[in-house]
Symmetry: C2
Subunit: 324 residues, 2 copies
């Protein structure tokens, strides 16, 4: 068993050990439910792998890594209310299974639990860890607000989109990695570098998520293909297509994307074809590759034995499904 796999098991074991037997159960049941739905646990895993890479004591990073996972799940819980999403990981979302009030309040409680876990670090690094987490949590909220703004903004630019996913997705990936580095008490430079690496990785990861929503295989992605098109989400693919399409293609893209009442299969088929026609599939892959390369370039500069970077490289390849 390689290090990444054993750390993943360790995280799963640590999360399973959480009981949520607090009272009233109406508050804690949705939390237990949310955390039992699985997910890839990428963020806590990044924290542990980063900690190990910088020769830290991995056990010291378990609790704050759990805190990151709690926080991530809290954001999903509240986002699902705002997006009126009925399903998450194949199961009813909390607001759907119970009600909105329960989802708001159990989400708030989960946020407190995240802080409780994050706080379980040595006192000497607590101020730094807390500052990192506070800024990150605020940025994630800002990113979610920008995402909501985009729904009604007819003129979102690609740059605005990239800034939105930086805040909504990339900073938490970067925070996880830096948290592991801080627990390991590596140098300020290293902690800064792994954070910047995390931003690039997070950007690639999110754009790849957008890509897979349209061009992924249903059995691999684990959700219906074309969901972003159905919900008219202004993803990197749509914005790029919108910028590149001309004449009839632009009219058709706008029509098929926005017009209500088009059968969903037809809508997805047409938009997907326009993405292909305008070369958005290739452009998006190039963008993902560019962020990945930048991430790997930063990783290379970190003064740690290349051997020790292998688990992180493997996880990056898994996250981005790179074959090399």
């Amino acid at each position: 068993m390689d290090l990444a796999e054993s750390l993943r098991n360790r995280i799963e074991e640590a999360l399973r050990a959480e009981q949520f037997l607090g009272k009233p159960f109406e508050l804690y049941d949705p939390i237990a439910y949310t955390l039992s739905q699985g997910g890839k646990r990428i963020r806590p895993l990044l924290a542990l792998i980063s900690c190990a890479m910088f020769d830290g004591e991995v056990e010291d990073a378990i609790e704050p890594a759990k805190g990151i996972e709690f926080f991530h799940n809290f954001t999903l819980l509240h986002d699902d209310i705002m997006d009126q999403a009925a399903l998450r990981r194949g199961n009813p979302t909390v607001w759907k299974k119970w009600n909105t009030d329960r989802a708001i309040l159990s989400g708030d409680t989960m946020f407190v639990l995240a802080y409780e876990k994050i706080s379980k670090v040595r006192p000497d690094i607590l101020p730094e860890i807390l500052e990192l987490f506070n800024i990150t949590a605020r940025q994630v909220c800002e990113g979610q607000q920008l995402d909501m703004n985009f729904e009604t903004n007819p003129e979102v630019s690609t740059d605005e989109y990239l800034e939105m996913i930086r805040l909504k997705t990339a900073v938490l990936i970067a925070c996880s990695l830096k948290l592991g580095a801080l627990v390991a008490r590596t140098s300020v430079e290293n902690a800064d570098m792994i954070y910047r690496f995390g931003i690039q990785l997070g950007m690639a990861f999110q754009i790849r998520d957008d890509f897979l929503d349209v061009f992924g295989r249903h059995d691999k992605v684990g959700k219906e293909i074309g969901g972003d098109i159905v919900t008219r989400k202004k993803t990197y693919l749509y914005l790029t297509a919108f910028n590149r399409a001309k004449g009839d293609d632009l009219i058709r893209l706008t029509y098929y994307f926005h017009e209500p009442g088009i059968p969903l299969e037809e809508k997805i088929h047409q938009v997907r074809n326009l993405y292909l026609k305008t070369g958005v599939d290739k452009l998006t892959q190039e963008t993902i590759e560019s962020y990945s390369q930048e991430a790997l370039h930063l990783l290379k500069q970190i003064p740690v034995d290349e051997d020790k970077k292998i688990p992180l490289r493997n996880l990056v390849n898994e996250m981005l499904d790179r074959d090399y």
Copy 2:
């Protein structure tokens, strides 16, 4: 100008200095709006007065005291969604003025801001302060859930009610006082004693709030009288009346309290009269007095010059409108 007044001015000034110019404005405007609505700033004031009483440096308590006020306002923001309350301090609530999504997310952000402020204490006391605040925040969520449970629970006991207000109201009052004590680096015993004092004070304060809702004067209370009766809130008064009423009175109480379609004025008038008939007004005042006495008894035991306790005593009298 006495100490309490100058500290109140200091808090107001410190809150006014907050800008909330972050982006996107859709996220920060509701926060600025919420904090500009005023309120009595009792919790931060308790923190400062406690800090001064224990010979602490009041300026060191300003930021975390603001954090407590941010947290309190965050809970109101989310509670107003759950209670579908349209007005707060005479103005539209955030979910009503904007929408529920904005209220959820700006509330979440305000919660992060609370943690940012709370964290602004000397590193040596950060772990203690954070532990206190984490536990308190969790308990407030538990209290709000219990309160929501009561709406559909036909058999709430007075003890269950007291436990609910302990969690929803008293622990934050107690936390504010203890926070001031911790900033002042007083003894563990003193910090513990002022916390216990705060619990008793908080209980008296909340039950008095219930009392004023029915027996207060409109011009003094600043809101419509009888709101709890209209919304069928199971307050200390209702539960006590329900336990004491017999025969016809019990039937009438249940009828006027629960039956929909009764004109509101008639409903309030009848329930209020039944409270008077069953002696609930006097009993409630005795309960408030009992908690107040217990609080003052605890305050007396704190080994600090009686002179230094005057600002806190004055604030207690103001909070409970005691004339002695």
